[in-house]
């Protein structure tokens, strides 16, 4: 059976010939009509539609967007802020550049609808420092929208006003964590905050109620207003609604961003049919399905899940649907939608050493298990790769990782532990082989990873 076709909703105009990122082009394509429609609706009605749509956050955790909005404290009397998380820095994820560079007004219109629905009068787009061009494009687009009366005071002739500002990060991965991001926006080091008891919905930016949404999540909002939450919920699969951008990178013939209905395509269809399969003469070995923090899957492994009626449902790696729930049942996660593919030329110890260097560099240093543990894991994989392997290193790596996960303020602890835990569990023989060979037998033609 051929793979299903892409369903491009938020990517509709990305890479479309003749489509430009200026306001005139956006208006020619029906732009800002949904903002007008939304302003005629009661804010609560829009929140209801988003809840009905089942939209889940695309940043990694998959938390219900409508639910997040419902949790906002509206009785505090304090201003409510919206922060757009455009600090996309999960390795393997590269959709924001396209959404921001090619269709910035789609994002701005969705931001304004979200602000109206939630009574927000000030929104910040926190864009990662490595996107200077994206920041300029957004500044210009916001300027155009402001001049046309879609941003600023008296939007569309109403009494409602809202400002959007672009705020640039400066190269720290931890700012993608929402409370770290808030600290950073307050002008501090981005040390994530302890939660519970207080979440940003109650005490966020400047101790005011705050919504933090991912760029991709927000882009869907205008389309939910357009077709209604009920119709949106029919896209995708139950509890995994809408479309997602899958970012495929690594060892495939056609890497890139592809938009599909959530869960309507399997990992195998995505990699073999959409992305053209492995490179010539190679076979797939492993895949990280949801950004570098997601646990790795090994080709050839099978999982036994349960059908609704309780009967067993065997699943090969290729058969796993690209959704949130089945991925979780297979011990990994849909995460950020970043799919990193590794073929049989890859030495898994080196691949892990590469990721461990990333996490050791990016740990913010607030919690001891993560600050020290991420560095130890880097050092252990480094010595493995550089000919100083010890027999106990595989077990030691697992032991360190196990003592990080669950013992830190934020999810970075899990994010840095999961690669190590899964690489050692699934490719244990490669870690075992090291003490004998002392030096990795790097397959022919494979480049260095560390």
């Amino acid at each position: 059976m051929p793979a299903p076709a892409q369903r491009r909703i938020i990517f509709r105009h990305v890479d479309e010939p003749g489509y430009t990122n200026d306001l005139a082009c956006y208006l020619r394509h029906g732009g800002y009509a949904m903002l007008r429609k939304a302003l005629a609706l009661a804010p609560a009605a829009i929140i209801d539609e988003v809840k009905r749509s089942g939209l889940r956050g695309r940043g990694g955790a998959g938390f219900g967007c409508g639910l997040k909005w419902t949790l906002v404290d509206r009785r505090s009397g304090k201003p409510i802020y919206l922060i757009v998380n455009a600090d996309e820095s999960e390795p393997g994820t590269f959709k924001d550049r396209h959404l921001i560079h090619q269709d910035p007004h789609q994002l701005i219109e969705s931001i304004m609808i979200t602000c109206w629905a939630n009574g927000v009068q000030q929104a910040y787009i926190y864009i990662r420092g490595e996107f200077p061009e994206g920041a300029r494009i957004l500044e210009r687009a916001i300027g155009e929208a402001r001049a046309a009366g879609f941003v600023g005071p008296n939007i569309g002739g109403s009494n409602y006003g809202c400002e959007i500002y672009v705020h640039r990060g400066a190269g720290a991965y931890i700012c993608g964590e929402e409370t770290g991001l808030i600290e950073s926006l307050e002008g501090k080091r981005p040390y994530p905050r302890i939660k519970p008891p207080f979440f940003p919905a109650v005490l966020g930016l400047y101790q005011c109620p705050t919504i933090v949404n991912n760029v991709e999540t927000l882009c869907h909002v205008k389309h939910i207003v357009e077709i209604g939450g009920g119709e949106f919920a029919k896209i995708g699969t139950p509890n995994n609604t809408g479309t997602r951008i899958y970012c495929v990178s690594g060892h495939v013939r056609r890497p890139g961003c592809y938009e599909f209905e959530v869960g309507r395509i399997t990992l195998g269809e995505l990699l073999h049919e959409v992305c053209g399969g492995p490179l010539p003469g190679r076979r797939f070995k492993a895949v990280i399905p949801g950004g570098s923090s997601a646990k790795v899957l090994r080709f050839g492994d099978t999982f036994t899940l349960k059908n609704r009626d309780g009967s067993p449902r065997p699943l090969a790696v290729e058969d796993i649907p690209m959704d949130f729930d089945t991925m979780a049942a297979c011990g990994t996660m849909g995460g950020s939608g970043g799919v990193i593919v590794m073929d049989d030329s890859v030495n898994m110890v080196e691949a892990l050493a590469n990721l461990n260097a990333f996490y050791a560099h990016e740990s913010c240093g607030q919690c001891t298990p993560c600050r020290e543990g991420s560095l130890w894991m880097k050092k252990i994989t480094h010595r493995l790769v550089h000919g100083q392997a010890r027999a106990e290193d595989g077990a030691l790596l697992k032991s360190v990782a196990d003592q990080i996960a669950g013992r830190t303020v934020c999810a970075f602890g899990e994010a840095c532990a999961w690669p190590t835990q899964s690489f050692v569990a699934k490719f244990g023989e490669e870690f075992q082989a090291y003490p004998e060979t002392k030096r990795s037998p790097r397959p022919e033609g494979a480049g260095a990873l560390v």
Binding site: E88, S89, E90, P91, G92, T93, F94, D96, R97, Q122, R128, G129, E130, F131, P132, E133, Y165, H167, R168, G169, A170, G171, A172, Y173, S184, L185, E186, G187, K188, R189, P190, Y206, C247, V248, S249, G250, H251, P255, G256, C257, S292, G338, I340, M342, V346, A351, N354, L355, A357, F358, H361, E362, C364, G447, A448, L449, V450
Partner: protein, 171 residues
């Protein structure tokens, strides 16, 4: 109010000062402007000179430690000058799988310097950085603000040649 010490030493262009004053108006709390102010100074001066900490602290009405802790945390802020051109090669997994390390080594050979260092003529600084979020066109390289995609060794040599030509044209 504290006097803006070191004001003349900062030697910022008038448009940078204007940009900084405008950035401060975007936030209900001045401290929030710190990243934007530091970016503006770095773009103007090429790095953050030592007097930055005191100057920004006075500007945002903060104790200097609040500026210092930010300057020292975020990887993009530099406390030392760099070469005229800044080459950032992505190091992380997707780029490494397709030859990111080779790309970085090619630049090192072309400019006869090492990652993290500046070439002897002061023309380029090479840095091996973490994920630049363009994994689908790996390996990727940023030269100053411009992203270059699918940079294998051959393309790295072309980019190096363009940089050298541009440098020769300047003198």
């Amino acid at each position: 109010m504290r006097r803006l010490r070191g004001n003349f030493l900062m030697n910022l262009k008038p448009e940078t000062l204007q940009q900084i004053d405008e950035a401060i108006t975007r936030y209900p709390v001045k401290r929030s402007a710190i990243l934007m102010v530091l970016h503006a100074i770095q773009e103007d001066r090429g790095y953050l000179p030592p007097e930055t900490v005191e100057w920004v602290a006075a500007k945002l009405e903060l104790p200097p430690i609040n500026v210092y802790e930010v300057v020292t945390f975020y990887p993009m802020f530099r406390r030392k000058p760099i070469g005229r051109r800044h080459i950032k090669v992505c190091r992380t997994l997707s780029c490494a799988l397709l030859g990111g390390y080779k790309t970085c080594e090619t630049f090192e050979r072309e400019f006869n310097t090492r990652r993290g260092e500046t070439s002897a003529d002061g023309e380029v600084t090479i840095e091996f950085v973490e994920c630049l979020a363009s994994c689908g066109t790996a390996p990727v390289v940023m030269v100053d603000d411009t992203l270059h995609e699918n940079v294998d060794s051959a393309k790295a040599r072309q980019i190096a040649e363009l940089i050298r030509q541009e440098a020769a044209g300047r003198t």
